[in-house]
């Protein structure tokens, strides 16, 4: 779904003349067309899917390895999935704001893959797991300090 709005200007051809004369530069030019059409996306009516496994695991700065505390949290997820073999869970990786955005997107993905690997090593099928990353784009806690950053380096299990 999108709608458009226009800001149309005249389109003029650019004409530049350079004189052959030794040192005096003579030019004539028109400014280029600047038409812009903007697009607005409307929010999808998200069929707010029921959260099946509500857990979050956290990571150290620049790291994607699971900590022993994360593993404790994941044991519950494994149990839940074994009891309900037909459910699919989404692992959503996130990073703190430090570092470049694209590298953080890739880092968030590595974090969600780490969780996926743990679940698979404990008998969960790959096709019941979806991994994705938001990088640093969806912080839980705003602010540029250690407390906020540690809350933002996470994988949300949904």
């Amino acid at each position: 779904m999108m709608n458009k709005f226009n800001n149309t200007f005249f389109s003029l051809a650019v004409l530049v003349l350079f004189s052959a004369c030794s040192s005096l530069q003579v030019t004539e030019e028109s400014v280029a067309d600047q038409s812009v059409s903007g697009v607005s996306l409307t929010p999808k009516s998200m069929s707010s899917q029921a959260v099946l496994a509500n857990a979050v695991v956290y990571f150290a700065y620049d790291e994607f390895n699971l900590t022993s505390r994360s593993i404790q949290a994941l044991k519950g997820v494994v149990e839940l999935m074994k009891k309900n073999p037909n459910i699919t869970i989404t692992l959503e990786g996130h990073a703190d704001e430090r570092g470049t955005r694209e590298y953080n997107l890739a880092l968030g993905q590595r974090r969600s893959e780490s969780v996926a690997n743990y679940l698979m090593a404990n008998g969960i099928k790959r096709n019941s797991i979806i991994t994705k990353s938001y990088g640093e784009e969806r912080p839980l806690s705003l602010g540029s300090n250690d407390t906020s950053w540690s809350k933002n380096r996470r994988v949300e299990i949904k």
Binding site: L24, E28, V36, S37, L41, R101, R110
Partner: protein
């Protein structure tokens, strides 16, 4: 003696705030070109507006000192006769005169540049457009002046893309992909979305943009035509796709695909959407960026244990990535300078802060160019003389820039957070 005291007053004045653009010139060239610009003849409002646009454009390069116009009034030019020796006594290198004629359907700007030392006119130019385009006419004039004097193409008439996030807005307009003139004015919304937008990139002809949108729930790369607003997802694959960069001939996009769970670099041929895999590594590979000649790409890889910059020669069969950053434990998001004489990138220093850095090919050390805490996303102007990047001030993201001659500036913060600037190619 008289000359010196004049100059110091002028330098003080030039560090003040002009119009809406906050110019913070902390250090310009030590030997700037000194220009006297007589207010253009014509309608006073247009003339004043033009004067501000042109002098701000030139000041921002850090290479010019502009004689303040209030101090020009006693120096009227009588009968087109240029009194070169008077301007020379004032220490001026160049004199700019001009006129602006605004009619119902058109605006003409005429300008002349005089070389004071050589005692002759070096340029006589006309720029025309429609009344709405006065800003553009000013930028074209600035570029004409810049080019005549420095011999290098100006970038005042180029444009910027950036991402604007307004946390307090209605959800549907929280994330915006914006387009503006190089001075931050004339802002337009290209895409308004309830979901994050990252990594905007220009097509080489500056008619299209590529970017990452999370509108489907995962990262996807879209191409959008600026004039028509038409847009499409570049690949129908289910996987996450990000980090677009256009080849200089416009025929290819390099991308990061996550189809085996890990970030790997691919090149997409646009006309038939054929994908070629470029990296195959257990570590992260992303942030690809083409060389100006189109024969190499730079990218960031975590294969050594920390993010570092690598270069891939595309002309070779089975090319091997060559590591080109060695200082420090975090070097990322690199791009080439326009003549490939060096690279600009994000560097984390030992104190954990992120800065924009430059490494020339000929040198074996890096130059740290910025001083804030979390500098990111550098983008180099097409003439290679300026860099724009993202900074964080009091937890708010905004854009800042510097010229390689030392001038620094900040763009006015529009509402909310502004980040990830991308500089267009030349437009004139």
């Amino acid at each position: 003696m008289i000359q010196k005291s004049f100059i110091s007053i002028f330098l003080f004045l030039s560090s003040l705030c002009f119009g809406e653009l906050f110019l913070e010139i902390t250090k310009g060239s030590e030997d700037p070109y000194k220009i006297a610009m007589i207010p253009f003849e014509g309608n006073r409002i247009d003339s004043k507006k033009l004067h501000n646009i042109i002098s701000n454009d030139l000041r921002r390069t850090g290479e010019f000192f502009i004689l303040d116009k209030e101090l020009l009034s006693p120096l009227k030019i009588v009968d087109e006769e240029i009194n070169y020796s008077d301007w020379k006594i004032l220490g001026m290198d160049y004199l700019v005169t001009g006129s602006v004629i605004q009619e119902k359907n058109f605006v003409d700007v005429n300008y002349e540049i005089y070389d004071i030392l050589k005692k002759k006119k070096i340029r006589n130019s006309k720029v025309f457009g429609i009344p709405d385009q006065l800003r553009q006419l000013g930028h074209y004039t600035s570029d004409g002046i810049y080019e005549s004097i420095t011999g290098i193409k100006g970038i005042a008439s180029t444009r910027l893309l950036y991402v604007n996030e307004i946390k307090s807005s209605k959800p549907e307009s929280r994330y915006n992909l914006m387009l503006a003139d190089a001075d931050g004015e004339n802002e337009k919304v290209l895409l308004a979305s309830p979901e994050p937008i990252i990594s905007p990139a220009w097509s080489p002809d500056s008619r299209k943009v590529a970017y990452v949108s999370f509108e489907t729930g995962i990262a996807k790369v879209f191409i959008q035509d600026i004039a028509s607003g038409e847009r499409e997802s570049v690949l129908s694959k289910e996987t996450q796709i990000s980090s677009p960069s256009w080849s200089p001939d416009g025929k290819y996009l390099s991308l990061t695909l996550y189809q085996d769970g890990n970030a790997e670099i691919y090149i997409l041929r646009l006309h038939d959407r054929v994908l070629t895999r470029m990296t195959n590594q257990f570590a992260i590979d992303t942030e690809s960026s083409w060389s100006p000649k189109g024969n190499k790409i730079l990218f960031t890889s975590g294969r050594s244990g920390s993010p570092q910059i690598y270069e891939l020669n595309l002309r070779k069969l089975n090319p091997k990535a060559r590591r080109i950053s060695f200082e420090g434990s975090y070097n990322a998001k690199a791009s080439y300078l326009p003549k490939e004489e060096g690279i600009i990138f994000v560097h984390r220093s030992e104190d954990g802060l992120f800065h924009i850095a430059l490494k020339y090919k000929k040198e074996n050390f890096i130059r740290i160019l910025t001083e804030a805490k979390m500098d990111e996303s550098p983008s180099v102007a097409p003439n290679g003389n300026m860099v724009i990047y993202g900074i964080k001030e009091k937890d708010l993201s905004m854009l800042a820039g510097f010229s390689l001659s030392g001038a620094r500036f900040k763009l006015p913060a529009s509402k909310g957070e502004v980040r990830e600037p991308a500089w267009s190619n030349f437009l004139r």
